[in-house]
């Protein structure tokens, strides 16, 4: 997933903030994963600027699906 996410991160720079956490190594990431109820990796959580969760995707996902979720963010 990394090359896809890295590419999207560059593309959406200034529009969407990307926060990527290795839950095995990052205590903050593990806490956040718990807050979002993420039980599996990878899990993607899309949060609007007002803090409301827009969408959650669990498991392997296509670039198109990620892009669609990113484009829905407000």
């Amino acid at each position: 997933m990394k090359p896809v996410v890295d590419g999207l991160k560059q593309e959406y720079e200034g529009t969407v903030e990307f926060k990527l956490y290795d839950v095995e190594k990052s205590a903050e990431g593990a806490d956040l994963a718990s807050t979002f109820g993420a039980q599996f990796v990878p899990t993607f959580v899309f949060v609007n600027a007002d803090g409301a969760t827009s969408e959650t995707i669990v498991g392997a996902v296509s670039e198109a699906k990620l892009r669609a979720a990113l484009d829905k963010l407000k």
Binding site: E17, D22, K25, Q39, F40, L66
Partner: protein, 157 residues
């Protein structure tokens, strides 16, 4: 005679076509792979998630019913014995216990998803999330940047 053979051949072809449309027979009851579990689901099985409610909220197979394994023995009346039941947990351990409880109660078509939902998700199969319940644990505050955020939680295996 030739005409009779032609009619029999046509009937056989019709039966073969009908069998193909129905997706074939159900796998034998017992342990099933993700692919066979999908066949069982497509056949209209009850999907039973025997993990805890907290685990369930984190993601589940669409249309799954959550009855934690500890509560299964006292909740059997809510399940339809005439339907096949696909049981899963996180990794295929608790579901073995649940399958035994169901069999002891007289359920015949019971399937255990051996890889659990972890293996299911690893294969990229659909896992849905009850966002309203999951978000109840604490809605995050808006990001300091004022931008929408995409979080990715991953690990290097």
């Amino acid at each position: 005679m030739t005409r009779r053979i032609a009619i029999v051949a046509a009937l056989l072809a019709l039966f073969a076509a009908l069998a193909g449309c129905s997706g074939g027979p159900l796998p034998a009851a017992g342990n099933v792979s993700n692919a066979d579990a999908q066949k069982v689901i497509d056949a209209g099985a009850v999907i039973l998630d025997v993990r805890t409610p907290a685990e369930f909220q984190g993601g589940f197979i669409a249309e799954a019913q959550n009855i934690p394994v500890d509560e299964l023995a006292t909740s059997l009346s809510t399940l339809d014995k005439s339907k096949p039941v696909l049981v899963y947990c996180a990794t295929g351990s608790r579901s073995v216990t649940a399958v035994q409880i169901l069999k002891n109660a007289g359920f015949e078509k019971v399937y255990n998803l051996t890889a659990g939902i972890a293996g299911w998700a690893q294969e990229g199969l659909d896992v849905t999330t009850d966002q309203q319940v999951a978000a109840g644990g604490g809605e995050p505050t808006p990001s300091a940047s004022g931008l929408p955020v995409m979080y990715e939680f991953y690990t290097d295996w």
